[in-house]
Symmetry: C2
Subunit: 421 residues, 2 copies
Amino acid sequence: MTGAERTSVSRRKLFGMAGAGAALVGTGAAAGIGANRLLGGDSPAQAAQSVVEFHGEHQAGIVTPVQENLHFVALDVTTKDREKLVKLLRTWTDAARRMTAGQEVGTGGAVGGAPAAPPSDTGEALDLAASSLTLTIGFGPSLFDDRFGLASKRPAALIDLPLFPQDKLDPARGGGDVCIQACADDPQVAVHAIRNLVRLGFGVTAVRWSQLGFGRSSSTSRSQSTPRNLFGFKDGTRNVKAEETDVLRDQVWATAEDGQPWMAGGSYLVARRIRMHIETWDRESLKGQEGIVGRTKGAGAPLGQTAEFDTPDFQVGGAGGEKLIPDDSHVRLASHENLNGARILRRGYNFVDGSDGVGHLEAGLFFLAFNRDTRKQFVPMQQALSSKDAMMEYLQHTGSAHFAVPPGVREGGFWGEGLFS
Amino acid sequence: MTGAERTSVSRRKLFGMAGAGAALVGTGAAAGIGANRLLGGDSPAQAAQSVVEFHGEHQAGIVTPVQENLHFVALDVTTKDREKLVKLLRTWTDAARRMTAGQEVGTGGAVGGAPAAPPSDTGEALDLAASSLTLTIGFGPSLFDDRFGLASKRPAALIDLPLFPQDKLDPARGGGDVCIQACADDPQVAVHAIRNLVRLGFGVTAVRWSQLGFGRSSSTSRSQSTPRNLFGFKDGTRNVKAEETDVLRDQVWATAEDGQPWMAGGSYLVARRIRMHIETWDRESLKGQEGIVGRTKGAGAPLGQTAEFDTPDFQVGGAGGEKLIPDDSHVRLASHENLNGARILRRGYNFVDGSDGVGHLEAGLFFLAFNRDTRKQFVPMQQALSSKDAMMEYLQHTGSAHFAVPPGVREGGFWGEGLFS
């Protein structure tokens, strides 16, 4: 018996045990779960600790504490057959259940199937733990055309985003019928998940664009420190946090009363690829940078205050009487105090896609934000920023997309079940 | 006093202490070292643990256990002034000393300098530990033209790499007068290091190309498990390991007797960007994949054996008498048994640069290998692989570069000191 045969036998046994795996994790019976894919390294207990529950009222990957790595993909549906699309959504959901629990994408997996057939799992995450993988799906405005009979189900909030001042959008980096966001604490786990979902979609969907990211540029939980973006500043200090349940209810989660009952418990995702002109920014003085952001670079305190989480005082003046937080500073324009209370939940990532043709970093922020009604939250915020933010001199929005993120999945259910039933 | 002022005062004090920081780490007096950049999170002791010593007989980043993340940059020298280049090498070395010790790139740092001046550090790694950052420099063949009087110092082993069969090289992804390899266990730390070195080079060097990578695709120490590449197979099982000091001496480290005394203790680095046709590979059967690689996918055992580290038996036959490890398998063609004993030390990375224009992953292996004489080691190996390897059907070499990696730096010395003195 070869090593591979022995491995596949023991793996198949594990798969037999793991049918209700994702559910068991929630009840604490974690032994063996998450270990299926784990041929070495962490103990099963450690692996189980890195499993984020897939099922729930809301999809994971929204208020989940932001993981370190991102692979985001936008796909177009290439079939006009509604049943094929629904079947794929069921297949994807099963695969997502398994992979977020640290298991291979399908029974048989990378090495347990028939030798004459392609493996059902591509294998590069075989020895890796679940790594807090979350998979989050969204549906773009274009899905609600006449192909699948969904026009009447299109939420009013799922607008075609307007062109904002200074947008320089690349069509090859925007739009999409469907998106899937994979976040994990290991980049290979996120890449593996997207690759395998894309593979399952062959003949039904095709990749439109994708983006990798690292170094989460926000926190979504008070348990996380605030990370820094590629301008070197703490980013997302005032972000909506998982602990702010009132704010989540009011500003993140859609309700049936918002117009489309299938979206109750869902949210709206705005994705923007924001190129940062790093080299230009690096030539700006410290004082200039801090004035543009409206915060100190070290502590991240609002100008005029001393600590990161101090509330900004937008009126306080300096010695010469001028406002310490300038009128065109980023923190002022993005603040809910100046946007009729509107807030958004951000969970974007830094990205570096190598170098451009003139030797500059092709780098920036892949902005991901969830809100209850993009028309009332993201759009007015971005209008203010695009037209007035001093930081825009160093930014270029190169990609844009908008998705309706359906509510969470019940055990036995599937992504978008409410939309298609 | 604002938070930023307080921070910068305390940081400046730390910098005063840290003059001999990198040296102290080696002697165990680690308290405070590595903590300079660390405004929160790990304790100083934890941070110091993640410091890799910069000085030594050889540069770090070759036999150092492979870190999780890579940012690799190739630069062209844009000045013809030798003294400016030497000055930059000194500046870079000082910066590399500091950053690998977890410190900011220059005194003053991100927030401790004059407010009217650009910060000397860009700041995005301010709260992050050293993360086992290594910085490794190399000099390309083009540096040895007539610009800097180095023609007589060009090592014979630093050849212009031949065009191998099936190469489809993109000039925008190859060559370079100088390379810097940054490896770290945090991608933001690697990106920060390259960005700041590039910035210091402004006016003397310009970025030619760069590449990010993740999920180390080799091990360089027996203390590391063997990772998997994007074909889902364990990769680098038979790689040269740090513990094999005899092999390192014979096959990795150049000596004075090899021809150029300034290269004694150095090595030769081959960088190849190898695009993998992931989607095609994924349609290959398990048996087919294993035959191409010559190993099982699960355990990574040589075909015919049972465990990963079993020695391949290239003669053993199957039931039908055919060789279990096919003649055109990767493991056979790359094996030192079939290459007159030639081995190389690999420390490549997986990469995913988003999607290409037809929705396929722009992904693969960024191959990095160190050897003592590229003419006798990498070149015959790649000739064999490019012309016979069954895996070539799924690969495309899109970038290629070759560098002479000088020996390690003594305290007070600088990168390439032997070359320029």
